[in-house]
C-alpha cells in the first residue's frame, strides 16, 4: 500500500469516526486517538524523520493537510454536538410565564391629589411670572384680620369661625389662619412692588360637615404694581382656568360681591362644561382689587399702587378636576382612597407635557 493510500484510508476512517461520535466525550476520544500525542496522525508525523529527504517535504504537507481536515471536522462536529446538548438542556429549562411579578415601588407609591394639583397650579402661575410665597399657620389677629381690613366686630372674628389659642397674659390670642391672606400681607410688608405671588397652604375654619373640613387648602394670588387692573385679573383667571382644566374655552361668569379686603370684589363661576357637566355654574373663587386700606396697612400708597388678589380652594379645584366626591376623605389617610385618587411619581405636571397627561 502506498503511503498516499494509507493516508487516504486513515482520513476516511477518521472522518467517519468523527461523524459517528454521538456525544462530546466520544468525539474527544476520537480527537485523542487522532491528534493526541500518540494519535494516529501524530504518529505519522513521527515517521517523517525516517523518510528520505526528498520525500519529507511532500509527506509533511500531506500529513499537515490531513491534520487540518481532521481538526476542522472535529470542530464542526463539536459545534453540532454542543448545539444539540444545549437544545437538550434548554428543553428542560422552562419557566411558568404566568407567575405573577412584583411591580416594584414606583407602581405602589402615590402623590396626594392636593400635592399634585398644587404642582399643577404652580406650573401655570410660574409661566405668568408668579413666585410661591409661604407663611406660618399660627397667626395673629393683626395679620389674619386687622391688616386685611376685617374689623374687630366682623362675624369671621368670632369664635364660631376661627380657631383661637388660649389667651396670653396680656389678653392677646393667637389663631390658626383662616385664609392664606396673611402671606399676602407679609409679602407686601417685606417687599416693594412689583409683586406677583401665589400663596398656597393649609387654612383652618371651624366647619365640619359633608362639604367642609376644619382644615383645608387654599391658593391665593396677589399682583401689585402701578397699573394692574380688573381686566388683568379677568385674564389671569381665564387663562388659569383654561390651563388648569386643560380645555380651550371655559365659560366664566363674574359677579359683583363683597369682601372686606378687596374693592371692587367679584365672585367667579365657571361653566361646568369644563369638567364635563354642561348646564351648571360652579362657584370657584373670590377676587377683587386689593382694598386701599389693605395697601395702606402694608405701607403702600393706594394713590400709587394697585393690584388684585384672588383666593381659591385647592381641595375644591382638585375635586372638580378629578371627580373626587368627598372632601373629608382627603385627610383620612385611607390607603384605598389614596391609591385610587393619588398620582404616580412619574406624573410630573409640566406645561410642555400637559398637566395631567
Amino acid at each position: 500500500m502506498s503511503t498516499s493510500d494509507v493516508l487516504s484510508e486513515l482520513e476516511t476512517s477518521l472522518l467517519a469516526e468523527i461523524a459517528g461520535a454521538g456525544d462530546l466525550a466520544s468525539l474527544d476520544a476520537v480527537r485523542v486517538s487522532a491528534l493526541g500525542k500518540k494519535g494516529r496522525v501524530s504518529e505519522l508525523m513521527s515517521k517523517l524523520g525516517s523518510l528520505p529527504p526528498e520525500e519529507r517535504k511532500s509527506f509533511g504537507q500531506t500529513v499537515n493537510t490531513l491534520k487540518a481536515k481532521v481538526s476542522d471536522a472535529l470542530d464542526a462536529r463539536k459545534a453540532v454536538l454542543e448545539m444539540a446538548a444545549l437544545d437538550e438542556r434548554l428543553k428542560t429549562e422552562r419557566a411558568d410565564v404566568t407567575l405573577p411579578v412584583r411591580l416594584g415601588p414606583v407602581a405602589e407609591g402615590r402623590i396626594h391629589p392636593v400635592s399634585q394639583v398644587l404642582d399643577e397650579v404652580v406650573e401655570i402661575f410660574a409661566d405668568m411670572g408668579f413666585s410661591v410665597a409661604e407663611g406660618p399657620d399660627i397667626e395673629t389677629d393683626e395679620m389674619n384680620f386687622d391688616k386685611l381690613n376685617i374689623p374687630a366686630e366682623h362675624p369671621a372674628r368670632q369664635d364660631h369661625d376661627t380657631f383661637y389659642f388660649s389667651p396670653k397674659a396680656d389678653g392677646s390670642r393667637l389663631l390658626l389662619r383662616t385664609h392664606t391672606s396673611p402671606v399676602q400681607i407679609r409679602t407686601m410688608v417685606a417687599q416693594k412692588p412689583p409683586i406677583r405671588i401665589i400663596a398656597p397652604g393649609r387654612v383652618y375654619r371651624m366647619d365640619s360637615d359633608q362639604t367642609h373640613t376644619p382644615m383645608f387648602h387654599q391658593v391665593e394670588g396677589l399682583v401689585i404694581d402701578e397699573s394692574t387692573h380688573m381686566g388683568h385679573l379677568k385674564w389671569v383667571l381665564q387663562e388659569f382656568c383654561k390651563a388648569f382644566f386643560e380645555v380651550d374655552e371655559v365659560k366664566m361668569r363674574f359677579r359683583a360681591s363683597h369682601f372686606p379686603f378687596t374693592e371692587p370684589s367679584m365672585e367667579v363661576d365657571i361653566g361646568a362644561e369644563a369638567i364635563g357637566k354642561p348646564g351648571q355654574w360652579l362657584e370657584i373663587l373670590g377676587c377683587g382689587m386689593v382694598h386701599p386700606n389693605v395697601l395702606r396697612n402694608c405701607g403702600l400708597d393706594p394713590e400709587k399702587y394697585q393690584g388684585f388678589a384672588f383666593g381659591v380652594g385647592l381641595d375644591r379645584l382638585t375635586m372638580l378636576k378629578y371627580g373626587i366626591p368627598d372632601l373629608r376623605s382627603f385627610f383620612s389617610g385611607d390607603l384605598k382612597w389614596l391609591s385610587h385618587y393619588g398620582f404616580s411619581m412619574l406624573d410630573v405636571p409640566t406645561l410642555g407635557g400637559g398637566l395631567s397627561t
Partner: protein, 810 residues
C-alpha cells in the same frame, strides 16, 4: 331676604321677566339663592269638575269619577280614593306626567285595581299647600266657570318668590325698595317715586316720655328714638295682600300692628317696634342694661341682659333689647287699644354683639347690625302711622323724637378716570355720572375732580375704590375686557425657592420608594401631642372642634400612625405612608418647620410586601427606613455619609434600633428606626412599624456649583478587590470598621462594602462578632504590584485593629 315679584313691582316699573331680574341681581352683587316659582311646580294643576262619581268595581274605598277638565272636551276617567269626592264637586286635576310635589311622584298611566286612571284629583297636601290630606280640594261651586284654568292663576298663587343672599355691606338692600333701586340703576326698569302719604292729623301729644339715658361714651348705642302713639285702634288681622307677602318672605302674620312693622322692615329695611301703650309703666328709657336684669322676650323665652346691651325699659325694668327683640309684657295683642310705635337707630356693632351673646337671630338685628339708614327714622314712623290708621283706625299723636339721627355727610373726592385705571373698562362720563345718580349719589364739580356725596343708606361707601365698584358692578362686569398681564421677556423663569424645590423632590422620591402620600390633620389629640414631645398649653386650641383635634402636632408621626391603625382596621396591614408638611415646636412663626416623615408597617418593604412565591417579605425594620432616609437625602443633593449617625433618637423610637442623623451636635437632619413598642401601644397600633422623620429645613443649602460637571476621573486600570474578615467585640459599630479601612489609603481605596456580619456560634459566647468587608482598590496611574497591594492590606488590618480592636479572622 325673600320677596315676591309683584312686591318688587310696587317699587320698580319693569317689563322684565323674573329670570332677567334674577340674572341681573346676581350679576350686580345681590346673589339670587333661589326662585320659588309656583308656576314651575304647580303650573300643570287645573281646575276641574267631577261630573259623575261611581264606586270602583273592585275596591270598596275607591271611586271611579268622570271629570270635566276643560270646557267642551271629553270627560276623563279617574280613580279617586278621597272619601269626599262626589258628583258636581269642583276640585283640582293633575294630568298624567305631572310631578306631585306632596307625594314626590310623577303620575304614570297604570291601572288601579283594574281601572286605568287618566290622572289624579288632588288634595291640598299633594300640592304642598297645607297638611290637609283628608280629601281632595273642595273648591267653591261657582269656580266651575274656571274649569280648565290653572289653579295657581285662579287662587293668585302665581307670584314668584325671589330669595337674595345679601353681603353684609348692603343694609339698603334689606328692603325691597333698595333692591329695586339697584335694579333700576342697572337698567331693569324705573324706580317708582315714593308713594305720598295722606296728610297726618296729629291730634294730641304723646304722653309717654321717651328718655335716652347714656353716658357720652355710650351715647352711640341709641342716638335717636322716635315714638308716636295711636289711640283707639282696632287690632285685627292685617289685609290679605300683606299677609301673603309676609308669608312669602317667611314670616307668620300675627296682627295688623305687628304685621305693619314687619312689613316696613322688609319693604324699606327700616325695623320698627310696636308697644301696647297701656302696658308701658311710666316712661320709656333707652339705656344700657344692668347685669342680671331679666325680661321675657316675644319669643316666649327669658333673657338676662348685661351692661353691654342696649335695652328699652319702662319704669318697671327692661322690656326688650333695642334693635334685637321686643318684650312679651308690652306686646300688641288683638285687645290692644293704644299703640306706641318705636322708630329708633341702634349701633351696628353693639347690636351684633348683643345678638351673638343672646343667640337671637331676628329681622331687626339683621338690619341694625348692617347699619340701618339713619335718615329713615322719621319717614319710617310716618309710614307705619299711615298704615296703622288705614288698617286699624284711631287717632295719631304728635311724634316724639329723643336725640338726633347720626347722619354724617360723606363726600368722596373722585376723578372719573379712576374707573378705567382700576377696572380697565372705559365708560363715558355720562354713564358714570348717571349710574351714581341712579344709586342715590349726588355729584358736583368736574369729572376729573368731582365731589360725590354718599347717600345716607350707603354706610359702606367711603372712598374712590368704592365708587368704582358701584359703577362697574352696575355697568356690568362682563364689559371689563380681559387684558393679558404683561409678561417678562422670553421663557418663563423658575420661581420656586430651594426649599420648595426640595419639598417637591422629596415627595416624588418617597413616592418612588413605594410610599403613599397622606395629608393628615395639623391638630391631634392632646395625649398624642404630649407623647411626641409636644402638648404645651400654648399650642392647645382654645376652641377645638373636638378633643381629637385639640393640640397642634409637634411632629408628623402621630397622624401617620393613626392612619396605620385605621387602615389595619380596614384589613390593610402592610402600609407605607408618608407626609410632607408642617409641624410646630412653638407658636411663633419660626417654630413652624417642614418635615418629611414616613412609616412602614407590617411587611411594607421597598422590594414589596406580604407573601410571594419568589420570597416572602420580612417585617419592616430599621434598615428599611435608614435606606429611605439615605436615599431621600441623596436625592436632595446631600451626601448622607457626611453626617454623623448617633444613637439618640427621641423616646418614641426603639432605644436600640433607632438613630439620629446629625450635622454637628445640634443640627438634626433625620431620625429613623423602629417605633417604640410602648408608643405603638399608646396609639393602639399593632404590627411592627418603622419610621423616619427628615427635617428639611435643617438641610444645609446646596453649595452653588458650576452647572458643568467635573471631568470624569475614571481609570482604565482594573480595580482589585480584597476580602477581609475581622473578629471584633460585639458592640463595635460596622461603620467604624468601614471608616478605618476606607481611611487607610484615601487615594487608592475606592469603596468598602460590608458583605457579611456574623454574630452566632462560638463568637457569641466570647462577646464577639465577625464583620467581613470587601475592599476595592483602584490604581490611578499604574498597575499595582502584589507587594503594593499587600502593603495596603496590611495597613488596613493595622488601622482597623487600632480603631476597633478587631483581629483579622484566620
Amino acid at each position: 331676604m325673600k320677596f315676591t315679584f309683584s312686591w318688587l313691582k310696587d317699587h320698580l316699573d319693569t317689563e322684565k321677566s323674573v329670570d332677567e331680574i334674577a340674572t341681573t341681581l346676581s350679576a350686580i352683587g345681590l346673589e339670587v339663592e333661589g326662585i320659588e316659582d309656583p308656576a314651575k311646580l304647580l303650573g300643570a294643576f287645573k281646575i276641574a269638575r267631577i261630573v259623575e262619581a261611581k264606586k270602583h268595581p273592585n275596591a270598596d274605598k275607591l271611586q271611579v269619577v268622570q271629570v270635566e277638565i276643560a270646557k267642551g272636551e271629553p270627560l276623563m276617567e279617574v280613580v279617586c280614593g278621597a272619601p269626599n269626592a262626589r258628583a258636581g264637586m269642583v276640585s283640582v286635576f293633575a294630568p298624567l306626567g305631572t310631578y306631585i310635589p306632596g307625594s314626590k311622584i310623577t303620575l304614570e298611566k297604570k291601572p288601579v285595581r283594574g281601572v286605568v286612571s287618566n290622572g289624579m284629583m288632588c288634595s291640598a297636601a299633594e300640592l304642598e299647600l297645607s297638611e290637609e290630606s283628608d280629601g281632595i280640594l273642595d273648591l267653591p261651586a261657582e269656580w266651575a266657570d274656571n274649569v280648565g284654568a290653572r289653579y295657581i292663576d285662579v287662587v293668585g298663587l302665581n307670584d314668584p318668590i325671589i330669595e337674595v343672599k345679601l353681603t353684609p355691606n348692603r343694609p339698603d338692600c334689606t328692603g325691597v325698595r333698595g333692591i329695586a333701586r339697584d335694579l333700576a340703576a342697572a337698567g331693569m326698569g324705573k324706580l317708582k317715586p315714593e308713594p305720598k302719604l295722606a296728610p297726618l292729623n296729629e291730634a294730641f301729644d304723646c304722653k309717654i316720655p321717651v328718655k335716652l339715658e347714656f353716658t357720652p361714651e355710650t351715647a352711640d348705642a341709641c342716638p335717636v328714638f322716635a315714638a308716636r302713639t295711636i289711640r283707639n285702634v282696632a287690632n285685627g288681622a292685617s289685609p290679605d295682600w300683606m299677609q301673603s307677602r309676609l308669608k312669602a318672605a317667611g314670616l307668620r302674620p300675627i296682627n295688623a300692628l305687628v304685621d305693619v312693622t314687619n312689613y316696613i322692615s322688609l319693604d324699606r329695611g327700616r325695623p320698627l317696634h310696636v308697644y301696647d301703650a297701656h302696658k308701658i309703666k311710666g316712661a320709656l328709657h333707652a339705656r344700657l342694661g344692668k347685669n342680671g336684669e331679666k325680661f321675657l322676650a316675644l319669643d316666649g323665652k327669658e333673657y338676662t341682659v348685661d351692661d353691654t346691651m342696649c335695652v328699652i325699659a319702662d319704669d318697671s325694668g327692661p322690656l326688650g333689647l333695642g334693635g334685637v327683640m321686643g318684650g312679651e309684657s308690652t306686646g300688641c295683642t288683638p285687645e290692644t287699644k293704644a299703640v306706641l310705635i318705636e322708630s329708633a337707630w341702634f349701633d351696628p356693632v353693639r347690636t351684633a354683639a348683643t345678638g351673638r351673646k343672646t343667640g337671637l337671630v331676628t329681622d331687626a338685628r339683621y338690619r341694625f347690625e348692617r347699619g340701618v339708614d339713619p335718615a329713615s327714622v322719621r319717614p319710617g314712623l310716618d309710614l307705619a302711622t299711615d298704615m296703622i290708621l288705614k288698617f286699624c283706625g284711631g287717632e295719631a299723636s304728635k311724634a316724639k323724637v329723643a336725640g338726633k339721627e347720626p347722619i354724617e355727610e360723606r363726600v368722596v373726592p373722585f376723578d372719573f378716570a379712576r374707573v378705567e385705571k382700576l377696572s380697565g373698562v372705559k365708560l363715558t362720563e355720562t354713564e358714570i355720572s348717571n349710574t351714581l345718580t341712579a344709586l342715590g349719589f349726588t355729584i358736583s364739580g368736574k369729572p376729573n375732580a368731582a365731589k360725590v356725596t354718599v347717600p345716607t343708606w350707603r354706610p359702606d361707601v367711603h372712598g374712590p375704590a368704592d365708587l368704582v365698584e358701584e359703577v362697574v358692578r352696575i355697568a356690568g362686569l362682563d364689559r371689563i375686557p380681559a387684558t393679558p398681564l404683561p409678561r417678562q421677556d422670553g421663557i418663563a423663569r423658575a420661581v420656586l425657592t430651594e426649599k420648595q424645590k426640595r419639598a417637591r423632590r422629596a415627595r416624588r422620591l418617597l413616592a418612588a420608594r413605594g410610599f403613599v402620600e397622606a395629608v393628615t390633620w395639623s391638630f391631634i389629640p392632646k395625649d398624642q401631642a404630649t407623647h411626641f414631645g409636644g402638648g404645651s398649653p400654648a399650642l392647645d386650641l382654645g376652641n377645638p372642634i373636638s378633643v381629637e383635634m385639640s393640640s397642634m402636632r409637634p411632629v408628623l408621626l402621630p397622624g401617620l400612625l393613626t392612619a396605620v391603625t385605621r387602615n389595619r382596621n380596614r384589613g390593610l396591614a402592610d402600609v407605607a405612608l408618608f407626609e410632607l408638611g408642617q409641624a410646630y415646636r412653638g407658636e411663633q412663626p419660626e417654630d413652624q418647620y417642614t418635615s418629611a416623615a414616613g412609616v412602614r408597617a407590617g411587611t411594607a418593604r421597598l422590594s414589596g410586601a406580604n407573601r410571594h412565591w419568589d420570597g416572602n417579605a420580612n417585617p419592616v425594620g430599621i434598615f428599611d427606613v435608614k435606606a429611605d432616609v439615605f436615599a431621600a437625602l441623596s436625592a436632595l443633593g446631600f451626601d448622607p455619609s457626611k453626617a454623623q449617625i448617633t444613637r439618640d433618637a427621641p423616646a418614641w423610637y426603639h432605644p436600640g434600633r433607632s438613630a439620629a442623623l446629625k450635622l454637628g451636635p445640634k443640627t438634626v437632619l433625620a431620625y429613623f428606626g423602629e417605633i417604640h413598642p410602648a408608643t405603638l401601644k399608646a396609639l393602639d397600633v399593632e404590627a411592627p412599624v418603622s419610621a423616619f422623620e427628615i427635617f428639611l429645613d435643617a438641610l444645609p443649602p446646596e453649595k452653588k456649583k458650576s452647572r458643568a460637571k467635573p471631568a470624569l476621573a475614571a481609570s482604565d486600570l482594573l480595580s482589585v478587590t480584597r476580602d477581609l474578615a475581622f473578629i471584633v467585640p460585639k458592640d463595635v459599630a460596622a461603620g467604624d470598621v468601614v471608616k478605618a479601612a476606607a481611611n487607610a489609603d484615601k487615594t487608592l481605596i475606592r469603596a468598602v462594602n460590608v458583605f457579611d456580619v456574623f454574630e452566632g456560634g462560638s463568637l457569641a459566647a466570647e462577646g464577639k462578632k465577625s464583620i467581613a468587608i470587601e475592599i476595592t482598590i483602584q490604581p490611578a496611574t499604574e498597575t499595582l504590584t502584589d507587594q503594593a497591594i499587600e502593603t495596603i492590606t496590611k495597613k488596613i488590618v493595622t488601622d482597623v485593629k487600632k480603631a476597633t480592636g478587631g483581629e483579622l479572622r484566620s
